[in-house]
Symmetry: C2
Subunit: 178 residues, 2 copies
């Protein structure tokens, strides 16, 4: 019962011919997004922020005083979730709410001074981090990649709001799409 078969059995099957997922666009997008973000997200957490908070800060640095729904779409999260995160950020003193004068249903979210400082710093870091990836990928390929990603986004939107034009579209992504 002792030493019958001590060969090391290699059970790691390297199937280079891939299967399905290894070349599936939706998987590649998710995997690339995850992998690319891991580094920076770790940095964000070191700053005492969670990822959704960072996203909101970044969006507000781009355009302060956005509406809740607008911001949620842009930050890729649900409205009710964004509302809750804004609560927390307000408690932390990073943002403040103010209801829109013209339409008092709307609530606009503004950066506080502290929020702007933190956000600006992180945006700078994010740019540096992005540059390090872009340089490793090559500037040309990176530019092509970005263009393709914008195309994908433009093509695939409509599952949400069926060819939703006008007011709800996250402005930044509309631009430069051809």
């Amino acid at each position: 019962m002792a030493s019958e078969d001590d060969r090391i059995e290699i059970d790691i099957e390297i199937d280079r011919d891939a299967g399905f997922v290894g070349d599936y666009l939706l998987y590649l997008l998710a995997a690339a997004s995850d992998a690319a973000s891991a580094d920076f997200h770790a940095h964000v957490r070191e700053q005492g922020l969670r990822v959704p908070e960072w996203r909101i800060l970044a969006c507000l640095c781009d355009e302060d005083g956005q509406m809740v729904t607008q911001l949620a779409q842009l930050a890729l999260m649900e409205q009710s979730h964004l509302t809750k995160i804004v609560d927390q950020m307000a408690t932390k003193g990073l943002v403040k709410r103010r209801s829109d004068e013209r339409d008092r249903r709307r609530v606009r979210v503004y950066l506080t001074a502290a929020g702007r400082v933190l956000g600006t710093g992180l945006v700078k870091k994010a740019r540096e981090h992005e540059m390090s990836i872009v340089s490793r990928l090559g500037a040309t390929d990176a530019a092509r990649l970005k263009a393709a990603l914008k195309d994908i986004h433009a093509i695939c939107r409509g599952g949400d709001d069926a060819a939703g034009r006008a007011s709800s579209a996250p402005a930044e992504l509309e631009a430069s799409l051809s």
Copy 2:
């Protein structure tokens, strides 16, 4: 106090010059991934599956009997989360566990007949859906995009396990990287 100023004030600012997020690689990746997946994920849920379950099915269709940790990496989720989802899927009769004979710490996850049927069907649907996106994007651009995404993944991995080679790497993505 009645009609002082009824002009419709356009408060939607279309800033085509983008800000930061509109051209930030990590944002574009996340946004594209979200947008591209929305459709199909809706279909998955209509089949009574949640997205993580679909991911696991797909991975097992590619290679049955994977280890828990392996599977978690491949399916882009945490190990403890995967364990719980496998519990549920086992209850539903989609997968079954069997401990590895050589190393009884390891638990391998296998598809049941029902799981394979469901998974195979969804993979087929996923291929069709992917093709519809690829055709709208253009075959050449799509191929370039996939290559770039694989590059990104290869470049950015290392935040997790510092240049992790060998056994832990999700085989499919290693392949065809140059």
